[in-house]
């Protein structure tokens, strides 16, 4: 009576062990296929990026080799006369982007702080969908609006024409706001509620809690938000092309430079690529501009990565 159940048990256990091994084998095969597919997807992304870069290099490198660097980075962009100086375009992009960042970052961050920390829930529920809608408006529509509505306003400010760097900055700021707001709001949301409680419990006011505890804790996310906002601004083409006047000149240094027409690198590529003979020096130079844009974006991203990485690794190290 007492021995049978024991032997029965051992039988059951040996059977189940062999079954487990069988299942393990099947799972291994499964795992192998799925892991392979995932790996393929990951590697192909890298491969495609590499191909894009190679293509850019192949088409754009001749510009750097055939045109003397002094001329290439010189002040004259007259493609028809064979003068390919991209300096005005870089200055144009720089002015428009910096202007946009100066407008968008403070506005975006404060909006995010308001939404995440101060606004009562009912206001948040009204505001957030609007911000999301804002990010969904196609850039060409915004460019059209800028051209029809914003440019006359800027001209009324006293600029010789409404199509200026400032107009572009305003529009770009407007376009990068949703990115900055929603990502920084996520970053603020990710700050544990306990931090806020802890700060309040030691006698912090709401503002002190936000400034000294919540913002430092959310720093890495906020940096990403700003960097993505900048990335959006520097890469934007159509809207900027429509409102900046597209004059490839270098505005005289000073506060007035914001109110001069400029031409950005992206707009130049978009405007001229259609009419250029393939393989000509002009064609190569446009790709050269593409390379420079690529490098700038790469630099911004890696700076962002460095800033974020430095912080998260410190925190990770700290948790050990």
């Amino acid at each position: 009576m007492s021995t049978t159940p024991i032997s029965g048990e051992t039988n059951v256990s040996t059977v189940s062990v062999s079954m487990i091994f069988q299942r393990l084998k099947a799972t291994n095969w499964y795992e192998f296929v799925i892991e392979g597919l995932i790996r393929l997807a990951g590697v192909s992304t890298i491969f495609i990026v590499g191909l894009i870069f190679l293509f850019l290099l192949r088409e754009g490198l001749p510009a750097f080799l055939d045109i003397p660097l002094r001329q290439l980075f010189g002040p004259r962009w007259y493609p028809i006369e064979g003068r390919f100086g991209i300096w005005p375009l870089m200055v144009g992009s720089f002015i428009v982007t910096v202007g946009a960042v100066i407008i968008a970052v403070p506005l975006g961050l404060t909006t995010a702080i308001y939404l995440g920390e101060i606004a009562p829930p009912w206001q948040r529920e009204i505001l957030k969908p609007f911000i999301e809608v804002l990010s969904g408006i196609p850039s060409i529509v915004l460019g059209f609006l800028g051209w029809v509505a914003l440019a006359p306003l800027v001209q009324r400010l006293g600029a010789p024409t409404g199509l200026t760097a400032f107009t572009g900055s305003l529009l770009l700021a407007y376009m990068s706001l949703p990115t900055i707001i929603s990502i920084s709001e996520d970053a603020l949301y990710a700050v544990p509620k306990e931090y806020r409680d802890a700060a309040l419990a030691i006698g912090a006011t709401q503002w002190q809690t936000i400034w000294r505890v919540v913002l430092p804790a959310a720093r890495s996310g906020l940096v990403i938000a700003v960097m993505l906002g900048i990335g959006r601004a520097i890469g934007e083409t159509m809207a900027v092309m429509m409102v900046t006047g597209n004059a490839a000149n270098i505005p005289p240094l000073g506060p007035g430079m914001l109110f001069q027409p400029v031409r950005t690198m992206t707009a130049t590529i978009a405007a001229e690529m259609g009419e250029v003979a393939k393989g000509s020096l002009h064609y190569n130079t446009l790709f050269g501009i593409g390379i420079i844009l690529f490098l700038i974006t790469l630099a911004i991203n890696s700076i962002a990565g460095r800033l974020v990485g430095a912080q998260s690794s410190r925190r990770r190290g700290g948790q050990l």
């Binding site: 306990e194 804790a217 190290g317």
Partner: protein
Amino acid sequence: MEPIISIRNLFFTYKDGTEALKNVSLDIYPNEVFVLFGPARSGKTTLLRLLNRLSDLIEGARIQGTIQFKGQDIFARGVDVTALRRQVSMVFAIPTPLPGSIRDNLTYGLRMAGIRRMSVLEERVERALRQAALWDEVKDRLDESAFALSGGQKQRLCLARSLALEPEVILLDNPTSGLDPLSTGMVEDSLYELKQRYTIIMVPHSVQQAGRVADRAGFLLDGELVEVNRAERLFTSPRDQRTEDYITGRFG
């Protein structure tokens, strides 16, 4: 003796209508360790949070009754809530070091209170860490991240952070919940020292802990303060059947 905190007919109702506290009246006296115990969701934390108005953060809640701190109604108009929270300071169940160094954690509150003199800050940091029995372990690494501390050290850091403000009342919400027995012992031991200077109101980890540290204790059940008495009386010969059932482990 004058009570330092005096609660009268306190009701607290959440937005959804849940009554978290029902007609609670209670006096807390200076320099005692008062332990507030009871089963989960009986309103202990809610009551603690009311005492320094962290309950303000709960939206749509309704409060009836009065709480006086040193004779002053804390819900009266014009009360400086941040000043109240510096005097009635809270330590939470989960240790919550703030991002930054150990020193930063202790000086946050002081700086926010407007204390900037380095000499004062240094002195307060050391005194608070000594009172929380943490000084010897961290004195050589005050500028390292507070996240690098162990769980027990973090909790004592949070205690020290409150002590640095030199409050009058310290609210401890289950301060040893995540701690090992050794760290728990250290926190419990420091309570004896602390009550010489401060009044301590604590939600304990267990009835056993309540028995170890309490001068007086109150038993909360479903938002109702069933019984309050000196600890040695309450834990040995409770007057209410429900208290006895809970202490002897018949429910909860």
